[in-house]
């Protein structure tokens, strides 16, 4: 390279400006490739679009870090619960969650209700993974549950299904994942923790476990799952209750 001319510097400067423009245009680009996060709109849309699309493009099948037993936290922490408690939930709690069921429906061949024993019979998987909260704190625990992939085999999602919407009975929280995350081998419907039942505070009887995403996506007390081709009809259409509170839908970072 002989020299670095003013023209070349101008070109590079334009490239830098184009990079910034590229960030702004990200939501439009990812939408084209079907990689758009449902909440990638507004001033923070470009960032969310890039983060989710990158997670899908760069090693989407990567496995969350797993630890040996000695790493299990002796002092895990569970967030307290907020908001009014639905009567239905109080009733289940009084029964010791013996009659807890999860209804799986929407775009599936066989809509089914599963009890916790049904899930246990279907299959068991365990993982020692870290739960990291968006606030910054974390702990490691062994999570025991039924791989969501096995549930998918039972209910047979239809071809157009693109998302799985899952809902908590306790606090009205609901969230969704794409089919890729739904089929990921580490995605569990968790009913056990550290060799015992899943404690109530940690989401027992049944909690969604997504070790590649932050804690708030791991919804507790799940009782309903719906497969869908579009998230438009759910809440404000942003894929989860979280964006309605200002939090991002995708939480892999």
């Amino acid at each position: 390279m002989k020299s670095f001319s003013r023209r070349r510097m101008l070109t590079a400067g334009i490239a830098a400006a184009a990079g910034a423009a590229g960030v702004i245009a990200a939501p439009k680009v990812v939408r084209r490739f079907g990689l758009a996060a449902p909440d990638c709109a507004g001033p923070y849309g470009p960032g969310e679009a890039l983060t989710y699309a990158a997670s899908r493009i760069i090693a989407p099948n990567a496995m969350a870090r797993e630890f040996s037993r000695s790493w299990i936290s002796k002092e895990p922490f569970a967030n307290s619960l907020y908001g009014p408690i639905p009567a239905e939930f109080t009733k289940h709690k009084a029964e010791g969650f013996a009659n807890w069921k999860i209804a799986v429906g929407g775009m599936v061949m066989h809509p089914t209700e599963f009890s916790v024993p049904d899930l246990k019979q279907m299959g068991r998987s365990s993982q020692i993974t870290e739960v990291a909260c968006e606030e910054g704190w974390s702990y490691i625990a062994e999570w025991i549950g039924t791989p969501l992939a096995l549930v998918l085999q039972e209910v047979q999602p239809l071809a157009p299904a693109r998302y799985l919407v899952y809902t908590s009975m306790r606090d009205g929280l609901w969230d969704s994942i794409d089919m890729h995350d739904a089929r990921h081998p580490q995605t569990l419907l968790t009913w056990g923790m550290n060799d015992g039942d899943l404690p109530f505070g940690f989401g027992g009887p049944l909690r969604m476990r997504l070790p590649k995403q932050l804690g708030y996506r791991n919804v507790k007390y799940v009782h309903k799952m719906v497969f869908t081709d579009s998230l438009k009809g759910f809440g404000k259409g942003m894929g989860s209750a979280n964006p309605e509170y200002g939090y991002s839908w995708y939480a892999g970072i």
């Binding site: 390279m1 020299s3 670095f4 001319s5 003013r6 510097m9 101008l10 590079a12 400067g13 490239a15 830098a16 400006a17 990079g19 910034a20 590229g22 960030v23 923070y44 470009p46 960032g47 969310e48 890039l50 983060t51 997670s55 760069i58 090693a59 990567a62 496995m63 969350a64 870090r65 630890f67 790493w71 936290s73 002092e75 895990p76 922490f77 967030n79 307290s80 870290e130 990291a132 909260c133 968006e134 606030e135 910054g136 704190w137 974390s138 702990y139 490691i140 070790p211 590649k212 995403q213 932050l214 979280n242 509170y245 200002g246 939090y247 991002s248 892999g252 970072i253």
Partner: protein
Amino acid sequence: MQPQPDARVVAGPRHGVVVRVTHWLTLVAFVALVISGVEIVFSHPRFYLGETGNVNMKPLFTLPVASSRDTVPTAYKYILPDQNGWSRYLHFEAAWLLLFVGAVYVVSGWRSGRFRREIVPQRSERNWRSYWGVIGGYLRVTPRREESKTSYNVLQRTVYFAVIFVAFPLMIWTGLAMSPAFTAVVPWCPLIVGGRQTARTLHFFLTWGLVLFFITHVAMVSTSGFVARMRGMITGGDGAVCADAVDAVKEGA
């Protein structure tokens, strides 16, 4: 005959257009990252070493501030408003901008030889004597030598080098070490810095390092001819530096 080259050097821009554009975009990203980062820290102003850490565990240190979460014990009776939603959206959006802008800056600086000419401390000056000479000059507030208008001294070079090639890369690295999706792809990312919580603590201290640089940088610019320096970084200004400009002029000649 009078020697002419000096007049030609003075005719070139002080900073090339790549440096100018990336400089200001970096400022935008940096300010957004610091503001949103501070907001996020308020949700858990406790820091730990190792892989895990939460309010049930002993922190390395706790900041003497109130928290935006009632689960965090602090010396204050009030809870700050939760700002994590937009802060996290903005933090990662700004991080993307910084990543793109940084890539353009580094590639252009490397290919043009600008880093070698202006940032890497010159071989002849890599000794304590040179450093003490510069520091002594600053302390005595001696008038700057002519050449310091056209080139960076060894202390400036060392600090710029550390910011560009140590602090910012470590900042990105420790940030990614907190991402459950990224660490799934690169599991040794948090390992080599000592775990997820150590990465978070380093991220915090590196922020202070960069903020300190920012304050010093602005102070130095203000005391060494603020208007001329700002002109240099906005329009390119006249008079100066840089070998890029010399090349450009030579080429035109």
